[in-house]
């Protein structure tokens, strides 16, 4: 069986600056991959590649064994650290956006039975992320944590093959962050998601992930630091089975991971 997402010999270059060099990787269906690394190690470029926002200079990306078009599509959902929800739409309309685009190519609005169905689906998804009480609020009226919940609901309603998270909890305070960890773990389990999450927080990476990737430069030329790019320097599978993962905010630590 081949992997869900397979990256082969990827290079990302801007002019003579090399960001990612020779990165090869397979990601299995159902994995929760955390990506860590120092600033400037190409974490964001890595995510943009998979998202299709950017094309590699060389190399190939295959999703479900089909070459990936360098353009964003509904098979890959995304949650950014900020600006992930539409400020001009209420929470409910934000989540209905996906259905409206799919079913009404010209007007991007639904009416009658189709609208009621989209509404019900959206409401159910909002309940699943704990926003059942704020369906008619606008993002500006929500806290940072609620906005990220909304962004997750909005992405999940399209049932993406892969959910990409770009430092999704980076701007939240610690208490809210723990709640969000619990939420994303539950959603990952309940909806059988494949998640790739870029994070600055090593602890978060190990707590949530089933596999941790560390991106960094293998070599360093002090006279031309930009000539070497980053690649996967550590690829650490964590022994977690989806069915057994229960989130305990204090118990899962790096030390408990046996195969580290």
């Amino acid at each position: 069986m081949s992997a869900l997402l397979s990256l082969r010999n990827l290079w990302v270059e801007y002019g003579d600056k090399i960001i990612i060099e020779n990165l090869s990787l397979d990601i299995e269906e159902g994995a929760f991959v955390s990506v860590v690394g120092p600033s400037g190690a190409g974490k964001s470029s890595f995510l943009r590649l998979i998202l299709g926002q950017e094309a590699p200079a060389r190399g190939e990306i295959r999703l479900d064994d089909t070459p990936l078009v360098p353009e964003c599509g509904p098979d890959r959902g995304v949650v950014f650290q900020r600006y992930s929800v539409f400020p001009h739409l209420s929470a409910l309309r934000n989540v209905m956006f996906g259905a409206e685009c799919e079913e009404a190519p010209f007007s991007a609005r639904l009416f009658g039975a189709a609208r009621r169905k989209a509404r019900d689906d959206a409401a159910e998804m909002l309940h699943a992320v704990g926003l059942g009480a704020s369906m008619d609020s606008y993002p500006a009226q929500m806290s940072g944590g609620m906005q990220q919940r909304l962004a997750i609901a909005q992405a999940l309603i399209k049932r993406p093959r892969i959910l990409l998270l770009d430092e999704p909890f980076g701007a939240l305070d610690p208490g809210i962050r723990a709640d969000m960890h619990e939420l994303i773990t539950r959603l990952w389990r309940d909806y059988s998601l494949t998640i790739i999450m870029v994070t600055h927080d090593i602890r978060e990476a190990f707590t949530l992930g089933t596999r941790v990737l560390a991106l960094d430069k293998r070599r360093h030329d002090p006279h031309a630091p930009h000539r070497y790019g980053a690649t996967v320097v550590y690829d650490i599978p964590l022994d977690k089975e989806r069915s057994k993962v229960v989130y305990h905010s204090e118990r899962i630590t790096i030390d408990e991971v046996s195969n580290n």
Binding site: Y83, H88, G98, C101, P105, P160
Partner: protein
Amino acid sequence: MRWVNRQVGRSGRLFLGSAPILLLVFVYLILAVQRHEANPADKILPLPSAMVHSMAALILEPDKLSGQLVFWADTLASLQRLGLGLGIATLMALAVGLVIGILPPVRATLGPLVTGIAVIPPIALLPILFIALGLGETAKVALIVIGIAPVMIRDVAGHVNALPRELIIKAQTLGASSWQVILRVALPQAMPRLIQAIRLALGPAWVFLISAEAIASDQGLGYRIFLVRRYLSMDVILPYVAWIALLAIAMDFALVFLSRRAFPWAHGEGH
């Protein structure tokens, strides 16, 4: 207490805001009275009584030649030109600004043209407009459109172009096509900015309107002001200028109200 921290209450704002205006009126009255003591036939600083008298004739009595109430006919003619000019410019700003802002190929194609037109002083084009379009209404409306549309287009395009990239990406991951991104993401978020652009364009629009009317017209607020200038009729010019100011303020208020009403999310309020 530091001055930067001194908040002014509602009644305080009313008092402070009206003080300089009342002071200006007071100074005017004193100067006018002084001049009239020296020369009772003075026309340069007319007394309020003279203004009321001349304006009453324009507002209430039909003109002997045309049979129209001159003041209202002027107001209507000017507002019609202004409204048409603003309306056309707004539609252009919305349609062109939106696609320039969101579609890179259109930006590459039309961006330099819009910038080029925007840097031409519109008044320099007025002779061309009069030659090409005649001396009628079209040329006047066209001057307003050419004067304000490029700036409005650039403003809307700049705003749309500066929308967070994340929002455009997010819409695409939710399955949106280019058209749907324009319709559902860029357009609604450009609307409050468009109203802002109209507010800022109101000032220049009046300038171009008055200029066009001053040069070739037979009706309009600007025409009247430049006509009675020949007789030093400050008793008509001053009320007309005040009336123009009042109209401009009313339009500005209406636009602010509309924006808050229609796009509460853009004003950080509950709704």
